[in-house]
């Protein structure tokens, strides 16, 4: 199996989100329900895995997810931390393959996110970013942010940050992994998915590309270069 | 901007999509509804269909009861098995009769209804007798077996 370490880069939604997290003692911890990003001088750097319903429910979309998250809060009204997910900082990660292995045994490993951390404006989560509408003259109107392309990998040396955005019509995750350079079959399914996502593009973060978290949209100007998905 | 904050063309597109969905839903319901019986059908046709179902069903239960008694007589089943099979046949035969009796027979089927219901009634009582026999362990009552055979034939012939 090809791990992100060999690949020198990965897509957060495709390769990290919803993966199984396993402790050093082979006990299952949970799924990667979301990934925390930190804004460091304009670069978005992933810092932690988030686990738990408070991280999972908001990923169901603005309306459904919001409704489910509200219901969850109501059910656990008395707990002060009912909105806060469990955190696994990236330094706990030992390897990322088809699952995410942590360097320590599972029991008692994850801690609940602190309120200050949740309120920190420099931090955000990948979940709310995916599905953000994209304003670009060259893309269909209903284009959204489909995935975030990273350089480096969790727990690895060298820089590790968001380098490019995958945008296009459709929902995040609907590409089923057919956007990578390796050509998985069956050919028929790949052809259908490719046709459905013929307008999807990769755009490098740089001049002309603005990811506005407050306004909840991505703006791509004419000076940005849009590359097709494959190759 | 509309109330939802989306630009007007998007709202119009959503409205169009909503209309298409509604039309499709109505179309699907319209096709399925006759099968569901939601839309009322001519009485005679509905009665005929139920009559056929009840007669075929009752014939099947009668034949089952007869087969169960015969195999029990040949000691090919144990008592509990035969009893359970015949008891369930009795239950199902009764349901078949009730399903038809519950339907109001249209005027043009009044005579047929009387004949059919009588036939079903006889079938149900014969199967009930078979069950009583099975419980007692009397499997070789040839008169009953002949009766069951006869009524099965009559039920099959009466099915339109």
């Amino acid at each position: 199996m090809v791990s992100p370490a060999d690949r020198n880069g990965y897509d957060v939604g495709l390769h990290l989100l919803d993966r199984q997290v396993i402790g050093a003692d082979d006990r299952l911890v949970g799924k990667v329900d979301d990934v925390e990003l930190v804004d460091q001088d304009g670069a978005l750097v992933p810092t932690a895995l988030l686990v738990g319903l408070p991280a999972l429910l908001p990923r169901f979309g603005r309306r459904v997810g919001g409704g489910l998250a509200r219901a969850h809060r109501l059910i656990r009204e008395a707990a002060a931390d009912q909105e806060l997910p469990l955190v696994a900082d990236f330094d706990l990660i030992e390897s990322v393959g088809s699952d995410v292995r942590l360097s320590q045994p599972a029991p008692g490993l994850l801690h609940r996110m602190a309120h200050e951390r949740a309120a920190d404006p420099q931090r955000c989560r990948v979940g709310p970013l995916l599905g953000m509408p994209v304003r670009c003259a060259e893309l269909p109107r209903r284009s959204k942010l489909l995935d975030l392309r990273m350089v480096g990998w969790p727990g690895g040396p060298g820089e590790h940050r968001v380098t490019a955005l995958l945008v296009g019509p459709g929902r995040p995750g609907a590409l089923f992994g057919y956007d990578r350079s390796s050509e998985p079959g069956p050919a028929v399914v790949a052809a259908v998915v490719a046709w459905l996502h013929r307008h999807a593009r990769v755009v490098d973060l740089g001049p002309g590309v603005e990811l506005d978290r407050d306004a909840g949209e991505v703006r791509i100007g004419p000076e940005a270069s849009l590359a097709p998905l494959r190759g | 901007m509309s109330r939802t904050g989306r630009p007007a063309p998007l709202a119009a597109a959503a409205g169009f999509r909503g209309t298409v969905l509604t039309v499709a839903l109505v179309g699907v319901v319209g096709v399925l509804a006759p099968g569901c019986g939601i839309v009322s059908r001519p009485d005679a046709a509905a009665w005929d269909q139920q009559a056929q179902r009840s007669l075929t069903d009752a014939a099947s239960q009668v034949s089952t009861a007869r087969l169960a008694l015969e195999t029990a007589a040949e000691r090919r089943t144990w008592p509990a098995y035969a009893t359970v099979v015949v008891a369930k046949a009795e239950e199902a035969a009764g349901t078949a009769e009730e399903d038809l009796a519950r339907l109001q027979a249209p005027p043009q089927r009044a005579d047929a209804a009387a004949t059919v219901l009588d036939l079903l009634d006889e079938a149900v009582s014969l199967v009930a007798e078979a069950r009583a026999h099975a419980v007692e362990g009397r499997y070789d009552d040839s008169a009953l077996l002949d009766d069951l055979d006869r009524i099965a034939g009559e039920l099959e012939q009466a099915a339109p």
Binding site: R27, K31, A187 | A68, R76
Partner: protein, 410 residues
């Protein structure tokens, strides 16, 4: 020597474990009403389940991940949840039908009303799932399920006109009394009974539980490609027995007792006793499999510990789900609903849920990230795509056919 014995055991348990209450009831119903004219659907279904079980087994062996584990990764949390809800509902429905089937089988032995037996059966299933080792459940119940071979023996003893049976295999030989809509409905039901979704969940989760590696792929393939088709032959034998005894008499099969009658006719009390033992083993085994599958799918979606290979204390959530599922199943059955009717509904809804399960398997089986060099070859992909189309057609046709034919009453 020990290795050959293990392979043989695997094949035998695959044969014995193939048939469940859905196969028993649907094949007997179809044989009694359509003769052998629907047997081709069983063959199509068996090939389908072989292809997809092999894929999910390969995925489990190489990536050490079970099928439902990967559904959320591939489809995202929203579609994954939809998939989870759909699959769990169908599996739960099947679980209810299987427990009902066990109760019906016991009723045939002791003439006790099946409702009285349901709580004990449910409790027994839960205790076995909680306490018994995985391999014990699989092996014991799988081997006992071989008792259903009595159907094949009974068919031989009944001495039907083999030429007539063979000629009846063509769809054109559909009895004139039955309409094509009913024929199509039972084709879909038979297809759903042969290709039940829970089978691949259970098979792949079991593979992960037993810690398969790529070295076990050969044995896994032997189990699937030899065991499942032979199990399919048992289904055909059930249909052929029903065709031989019931079709001439105009008897429609609606109870489990009727399913066993041809064996009584052909083999007498001893054959019947063996077959009822087979009923019990098949339904109890399938109850365990569907119960576990309910737990597997939910635990694998949320990522919390699952499985029988960890101590119950370490997979507490998983075992709690099993307990709740068992209580729900017992509760539903105690309302007095007919388990046979639940079975009929469950096979149709299995057919509807098939695309949810099989599409992700086909996609993952092609992904070198999970399978490395063991990805699908062109043959597996070709068959897989063809079956995806067949499955989708069956799934879309199921509800309209169900409504138009009033669940097959015609």
């Amino acid at each position: 020597m020990k290795r050959y014995f293990a392979v043989l055991l695997g094949i035998l348990t695959a044969i014995g474990g193939f048939v469940d209450i859905g196969d028993l009831v649907t094949n007997a119903q179809v044989g009694a009403r359509f003769g052998t004219s629907l047997v081709w659907v069983v063959l199509v279904g068996v090939v389908g389940i072989c292809v997809f079980a092999e894929m999910s087994g390969r995925i489990a062996a190489v990536s050490h991940r079970a099928t439902f584990d990967l559904v959320r990764e591939r489809l995202g949390p929203r579609m994954g949840l939809l998939n989870l809800v759909g699959s769990m509902l169908v599996t739960l429905l099947t679980f209810i039908a299987e427990i009902g089937g066990v109760a019906l089988a016991l009723q045939l032995v002791g003439s006790v009303h099946h409702l009285l037996v349901v709580p004990f059966v449910a409790a027994a299933v839960w205790i076995v799932l909680w306490r018994a080792k995985f391999s014990a459940i699989e092996n014991v119940l799988g081997l006992l399920g071989l008792a259903l071979i009595a159907f094949a023996v009974a068919l031989w003893q009944l001495g039907p006109d083999w030429g007539e049976l063979a000629a009846g295999l063509s769809p054109a030989e559909k009895p004139a009394a039955e309409g094509w809509a009913t024929y199509a409905f039972f084709a879909v039901a038979l297809f759903g009974a042969a290709m039940t979704p829970y089978e691949v969940f259970f098979f792949s989760s079991g593979g992960v539980e037993e810690r398969w590696t790529s070295k076990d792929i050969g044995v896994m393939r032997a189990n699937v490609f030899i065991g499942f088709p032979l199990g399919g032959l048992l289904s055909v034998a059930i249909a052929a027995c029903a065709a031989t005894v019931f079709l001439p008499e105009g008897i429609a099969v609606e109870t489990l007792g009727q399913v066993g009658l041809p064996v009584a006719v052909g083999l007498g009390k001893i054959g019947l006793a063996v077959v009822v033992l087979g009923f019990f083993a098949a339904t109890f085994g399938a109850a365990c499999e569907t119960g576990l599958s309910t737990g597997y799918s939910l635990a694998q979606y949320f990522g919390f510990p699952w499985g029988k290979y960890v101590r119950p204390r370490e997979a507490a959530g998983f075992h709690l789900i099993l307990l709740i599922a068992t209580v729900i199943a017992a509760g539903v059955l105690l309302t007095g609903v007919d388990p046979i009717m639940v079975t009929e509904v469950s096979v149709v809804f299995s057919a509807i849920a098939l695309p949810l399960t099989y599409f992700p398997i086909l996609v993952v089986a092609n992904d070198p990230d999970y399978l490395g060099e063991h990805v699908n070859g062109p043959v597996a992909n070709a068959i897989g795509v063809v079956y995806l189309v067949v499955i989708t057609v069956a799934a879309l046709a199921a509800i309209p056919l169900m409504v138009v034919t009033s669940m097959g009453q015609g």
